[in-house]
Symmetry: C2
Subunit: 312 residues, 2 copies
Amino acid sequence: MSLDAALGERIYFTEVGPRDGLQNLPEELPTALKVELIEGLLDSAVDLVEATSFVSPKWVPRLGDAELVMSQLKARRGDSCLDQLRVLVPNRRGMERALGSGARRVIVNLGVTESFNQHNLNRSRGETLREITEIARQGELANCRWDASLSVAFGCPYEGLVRPGQVAELAGTLADQGASEISLADTIGAAHPRQVAELVEEVSQRVPARLLSLHLHDTRGMGLANGLAGYQAGVRRFEGSFGGIGGCPFAPRSTGNVCSEDLLYLLERSGAGVAVRLEGLCAVAERLAQELGRELPGRLYRAGVWGPGSPG
Amino acid sequence: MSLDAALGERIYFTEVGPRDGLQNLPEELPTALKVELIEGLLDSAVDLVEATSFVSPKWVPRLGDAELVMSQLKARRGDSCLDQLRVLVPNRRGMERALGSGARRVIVNLGVTESFNQHNLNRSRGETLREITEIARQGELANCRWDASLSVAFGCPYEGLVRPGQVAELAGTLADQGASEISLADTIGAAHPRQVAELVEEVSQRVPARLLSLHLHDTRGMGLANGLAGYQAGVRRFEGSFGGIGGCPFAPRSTGNVCSEDLLYLLERSGAGVAVRLEGLCAVAERLAQELGRELPGRLYRAGVWGPGSPG
């Protein structure tokens, strides 16, 4: 049986724009608009929406309305929408808040390099791993799944190139602890397609490929090509941000997250099974672009899906 | 011998921004600035710069200073710079003007579909092919090489999907007539990577792969992934526009040409031999962005080339 046949072609997609995109916008959006955008994303049949972050509002003021976002979503759509939501939790305190809001799936973060983890999370990797163990325990008691994101899995602004073995080792530790998904994050847009293929191959020897997700950034334009390389290497879980919103704190004028609808369009044209409604994502991007009064980095929402008969 | 070994890894790159990019800008640039940008591109060691178009200023007012651009370049750099320049000629009259300006290499255009050729060039494909025969004869007498671009080689705004066999047939006709390079143009950004691989394979059976060039647009975000697919299929000639400038008349808010420095960065990281100085292209993009007071679509010039030790 070939790799493709074993994995199937179905893409499992998490839309991270409401968290990773909005937290980096210069503008602050009203909660009602965030909820409207999230509902548009849910209606586009993405598998998960990363809706917000239960980080301290002192650190990320843009997401200070996390509880409100969750309660409004539940009020508008019922508790069943919680199965399609994921929230970021930075620590036990955040996990308590997330569970208090009804979260059924969270994501925790670990920097692959010691320097990045220290700068980003203000503690050592060892301390972060112990915190994750506690969060996992809290989750188990509350029947809440947890995913883990490995930041700077391809390159680090402090330590340069990252050894694939280092990523595989941390991914293995997290999988052993019960992570439902392990996301390899190209936080600063350092990856190129060959590197993606090589890292996926290396990590797959330690962790089942079906657990692996790619969180790509388009900082240097290679986001989509990297996504295709990941798909070809066997990855079936992807993350992205509608309209390509988001940024890169280490390259302030740069584009951030890979654009969801552009990436899914590419994967679909490359033979992947994409259940997400691309027109729905394009509409959400268009809505935000109109609200902000400027174009977003994404391409597809401006040009439209092309097919025989399309105007161009 | 493998395909890669037969072709080598060396990329032959033509920068088309001064023609295809500037003609689509909303702003009109002074001739001195165009010349400055072209010099920056030449100094970045691209193989060719498509410097301007000898089309009637009635049709493309932005490039009405074609003669002036050429004479200023010759005055500043000497006649030897003509070996690194290419100009677009739409007809015999344009070819006369180009030769009068000292051009040593021109490019002619043919729409793959009858409808597109009629709309774009205002005559039938048969008439255009006869015009090209005349231009080729003029070139032969003046020792001027000619390249041919096949518009809408992947999809047509009027006729939809394009048959690869149709492209191969026209490419073959042009190669038989003596074209030095045949560029497959994704004029409206309809191509996806699998399609690029399939078209290159089909056309390569009629025309030597070493003659083939890819002119990609990033209208729907797939430009770079398409470029990589083309490279993997054996293409070694590429075109692009610094900063990703340009547009798409059929999708007015959309991005146009694939960004030169982003594409070359991807190809270089993928193992191709890239002689172009990427920092040089980035500097030219930055120069234009500052002049226009807005960001260009390209990514790399904002974020910078990344390598171990880079800040992000």
